[in-house]
């Protein structure tokens, strides 16, 4: 591959349009081999690659915890009559006379949701790969501001510590559901988790939002300003487009959650009535009048809906990249893929109230949001068809990353389609807050995003750690997880169609919800097995960091810039000059080319045999 990397003189000769960081290059050459104190190299590092790994490993920690919580409440849902005495050593007083405390059950579902949505799939996914890939794929030495990037991680870390601490409070962690709707979340009289637990939740989320904004500003600036020479926006890999748009979504929507959290803090602590009105609780009429709990929902979902795209879009980007690489084919409809990402980003801001059809909101608003919501199915459909067309007549290599990408597409279809039902206001009357919703979003954003995350880790592991993950273990991990996910979430739709409400500690009190005890047991078994299958990944991951097979520079024969760096890129990413870019990132199996891939940094003059007519002018 080294032969393809343009020489220094080529790069230097082309100073012109987009080389704002040439001076920066020289500066880096001087400092490249500086010995850093380990504390600044591994802990308070400003290197985007180290920060990415910090996000990843923190994310893995949170994912294990989030999964454990879900196993606990699946135990309760699968075997509502059984004793849980054996969990006393772990849960202590939350086991009362052999039974799980119902308030702690609500704390479990709340923390599971919070952890998975924010700490794993937002910070762990986007934080890891935006950090790792943006500078490497656009051809930059590092993020625009390494210091802010470091702060971004440490704010996340601080937020993590606070959220983790809240799990051990005597009154329990936040328990009002991950959507923390007031008044339940505002009144400690309503549920003990709304005391100190909720306070810590809000403080933690405020810090989390700061972390997201610091990261987002950096991602956007880096993509706009630090692209290498020749890397126009229309030559960016789809991963970068996805991270870029994700960062914009986050930047525009997280502040709204911040405002919601702030107003809630005011209501809780300073006697305001933004969300409270006409409340009589615990034998007392509260003085608050005139607030609206529905206002909170508007603010929450104004973030909350873009949030699900913040979770899924990075996965979409990585999957597009991995599908193309391993099908050895260009991604089908590159421009349509960018267009649909933009369409999704735009629409994601005007669909939030589809979470609120039956809150008593004006039905006319419901009609508007139903219309906008169902439009968003169109760009999603386009993406799916384009992924299928990318596989068509490919030459597919089933790397573990590829398996997870195919799994992603499958889960995205399965979960996305039921969104057409839930986005329909008339049908949502029956389905709202049932297990149908739970099954829908666990497939389309939960599992899919997880599959994107796994695909990304397996694919870019060699660049992160210079070693390969074990493929066989990867296959085992994939098949167990893939089967597990479907065995859990397909039957969950049946339970949902039957109207089983979510966040129920037990359904045994209702005759209406008595028919699926066996199925719930089945779902619980599948969920717990699928959770344990993740340890195959954890073992593989940590084992391979230290003992994996050594990687080569470009193990997947891929075209993007990160594969032109050394096996383990150092600080500054490229030892010499940053390569320039001449072509789009998907020249796979181009007719007439020697190999079945042409990296982005190979000029057209070197590939005369494969240039298309319009490319000849650029030779």
């Amino acid at each position: 591959m080294a032969a393809n990397i343009p020489t220094n003189s080529q790069v230097q000769g082309g100073i012109g349009a987009a080389v704002p960081h040439t001076g920066h290059d020289e500066h880096h050459d001087e400092h490249d081999h500086h010995d850093q104190h380990w504390l600044f190299k591994y802990v308070f590092s400003q290197d985007h690659k180290v920060i990415a790994k910090q996000f990843l490993i923190t994310g893995i920690f949170w994912a294990i915890l989030g999964g454990t919580l879900s196993s606990l409440f699946r135990l309760q849902l699968g075997w509502p009559e059984s004793t849980m005495e054996w969990l006393t050593p772990f849960l202590g007083k939350w086991i009362e006379a052999g039974k799980l405390n119902p308030e702690f059950y609500l704390a479990l579902v709340t923390m599971h949701g919070t952890i998975m949505v924010f700490f794993v799939l937002t910070a762990g996914l986007s934080g890891t790969f935006s950090n790792f890939l943006i500078p490497l794929q656009v051809g930059a030495r590092d993020m625009a501001s390494g210091f802010m990037n470091m702060l971004s991680y440490w704010f996340f870390f601080l937020s993590s510590v606070i959220m983790f601490t809240s799990l051990f409070l005597e009154t329990g962690p936040a328990s009002a559901g991950w959507t923390i709707y007031p008044p339940l979340s505002a009144l400690p009289q309503a549920i003990p988790g709304s005391g100190m637990g909720m306070t810590l939740w809000l403080v933690s989320m405020a810090l989390f939002i700061v972390s997201q904004l610091l990261g987002g500003v950096n991602y956007i600036t880096t993509v706009i300003n630090l692209r290498t020479r020749g890397m126009s926006m229309s030559k960016l890999p789809l991963t970068i487009w996805a991270f870029f748009l994700t960062a914009i979504l986050g930047l525009l929507s997280f502040p709204v959650l911040f405002s919601a959290a702030l107003l809630l803090i005011f209501d809780r602590s300073f006697g305001t009535s933004f969300f409270l009105s006409d409340i009589y609780i615990a034998g007392q009429a509260l003085p608050n009048v005139g607030g609206s709990p529905i206002l909170f929902q508007h603010l929450f979902w104004f973030l909350g809906h873009p949030e699900v795209y913040i979770v899924i879009m990075p996965a979409m980007g990585m999957v597009s990249e991995i599908l193309a690489t391993n099908s050895r084919k260009p991604i089908f409809g590159y421009r349509a893929m960018i267009g649909s990402l933009m369409g999704i980003s735009l629409l994601s801001f005007v669909v939030w109230a589809h979470h609120m059809f039956i809150t008593g909101m004006n039905p006319f608003l419901g009609s508007v949001f139903m219309f906008l919501t169902l439009i968003i199915a169109v760009p999603s459909a386009v993406k799916t068809f384009n992924w299928l067309a990318t596989l068509w007549r490919g030459n597919i290599r089933f790397t573990t990353a590829m398996m997870f990408s195919i799994g992603f597409v499958s889960l995205f279809i399965s979960g996305g389609l039921t969104g057409i039902i839930l986005g329909n206001a008339a049908l949502d009357i029956q389905m709202h807050n049932t297990y149908f919703v739970v099954a829908h979003f666990h497939l389309v954003m939960g599992s899919s995003a997880f599959f994107g995350l796994f695909a990304g880790v397996y694919h870019w592991f060699p660049k992160m750690f210079g070693r390969m993950m074990d493929e066989k273990l990867g296959y085992i991990h994939f098949w167990l997880t893939f089967l597990g996910v479907y065995l859990v979430f397909l039957p969950m739709h049946y339970v949902g169609i039957a109207g089983f409400p979510r966040r129920y500690y037990a359904w045994t009190g209702f005759d209406t919800f008595s028919q699926f005890a066996d199925l719930n047991k089945f779902i619980s078994v599948a969920a717990i097995l699928a959770f344990f299958a993740q340890f195959v990944f954890i073992i593989n991951f940590f084992y391979s960091i230290f003992r994996g097979r050594r990687a080569t520079e470009n193990p997947w024969n891929s075209t993007t810039l990160e594969w032109t760096t050394p096996v383990v890129p150092g600080h500054g990413n490229w030892p010499g000059a940053i390569p320039a870019v001449y072509r789009w990132p998907y020249d796979y199996s181009k007719p007439g080319a020697e190999q079945d891939f042409i990296p982005q940094n190979v000029p057209y003059s070197q590939t005369q045999s494969s240039n298309l007519p319009y490319e000849r002018e650029m030779e």
């Binding site: 409340i279 609206s292 709990p293 421009r335 068809f385 596989l391 089933f398 029956q430 039957a498 028919q515």
Partner: protein
């Protein structure tokens, strides 16, 4: 017990680790670790196909197997239309589901790596992309239109002659109030709530004197019913799966939902062959410790039985003269008629204007 569990887990890990080492050593020995694309590629391609066939078969079987248990029997007019729209949409998305999943796994199998073959360089095709953008757009437009029609009908204003009742959520049960003979719900004030006056009746308002509270919901068959929904503490949601009714109960913001029940409780018991069957109202918005147990029974009566049931009720003021007295003292007003029974004539007339 726990020690044994941990020991077994550790043992399992050790065995697993050993197997893993052996696998790596054999793959190095056989040379497959250096081969770029080995037999596992073929195995995985076949597994993709196997997954499609067996997985699809399992899904079809389990869906059919559970289908009977999936649908709560319908007992309202709009419920039938919603159900139809639901299953039409399910069929449409089912077709797309099958088509795309089959293509996904079939392509994965069919286009698995083969030595010497090169993938087809196919970067885009505007015509086909326009087609597959427009088709989903048209289907979506149809579904939006059908849904919008249904939605406006369901959420439109309730008929003027609807039977009105109020459902109020509180931690952790439901309270029900009927307007009595004047067909008007009296004024309430949350500051007046206490252990006896759970609704916060302000009995200075005369239209509240004949209101009565009930331990369960009774509604007449074949007549529109308007639920006025309130909450007095946190969010709750009135969820009545058999009637396809759901609406949040919001403190400080009354909501409503109207529907027309079509099957009486007795008819449904006979139909299902289950003499213990009851329509149930569940809370469907997380509200605290007792969320999962916030249940209320709903009884659908023949209109005559409903009128008779109303006749048997005693108004709140009648049952709680002390509340009335206390309120009177407070306001200094003299309420002329101290106690107003919940009379039936008006209710009967409402159900059957011919009476």
């Amino acid at each position: 017990m726990i020690a044994l569990g941990i020991f077994l887990l550790l043992l399992l890990l050790v065995v697993f680790g050993l197997l893993f080492r052996i696998q790596i050593l054999t793959s190095i020995f056989s040379g497959s670790s250096t081969r770029e694309i080995g037999t596992s590629n073929r195995v995985n391609a076949i597994l993709m196909l196997v997954f499609l066939v067996l997985g699809g078969a399992w899904f079809a079987y389990s869906f059919a197997d559970n289908f009977g248990k999936m649908n709560p029997p319908i007992a309202s007019v709009h419920g039938h239309e919603m159900e139809r729209l639901f299953w039409i949409t399910m069929i449409i998305i089912g077709i797309v589901f099958v088509l795309t999943q089959v293509l996904l796994f079939f392509y994965s199998y069919k286009y698995q790596h083969q030595e010497g073959r090169r993938a087809f360089f196919f970067s885009h095709n505007n015509k086909i992309e326009i087609i597959w953008t427009i088709i989903p757009a048209i289907v979506m437009a149809g579904l939006v239109f059908a849904g919008w029609k249904e939605w406006t009908k369901i959420t439109g204003p309730a008929p003027k002659d609807s039977v009105v009742l109020e459902v109020m959520g509180k931690q952790f049960n439901w309270l029900v109030r009927y307007p009595g003979r004047d067909l008007k719900l009296g004024v309430v004030n949350y500051r007046l709530i206490d252990a006896t006056n759970e609704f916060g009746f302000d009995l200075n308002d005369k239209s509240g004197l004949d209101d009565f509270v009930a331990g369960e919901i009774h509604v007449p068959k074949g007549h529109p019913v308007l639920l006025k929904i309130r909450s007095r503490d946190v969010l709750h949601a009135v969820y009545m799966p058999h009637f396809r009714v759901q609406m949040y109960a919001v403190p400080g913001m009354p909501t409503k939902f109207w529907f027309t029940p079509t099957v009486t409780t007795d008819e449904m018991r006979a139909k299902l062959g289950n003499p213990k069957f009851n329509y149930e109202l569940a809370c469907n918005q997380i509200c605290g410790r007792g969320h999962f147990a916030m249940k209320l029974n709903i009884v659908v009566d023949e209109p005559d039985d409903y009128v008779a049931w109303v006749a048997a009720q005693k108004s709140f003021s009648e049952q709680n003269p002390d509340v009335l007295a206390k309120l009177k003292q407070k306001s200094g007003d003299v309420v002329e008629k101290e106690v107003v029974p919940a009379a039936t004539a008006a209710v009967g007339a409402q159900l059957n204007p011919a009476l």
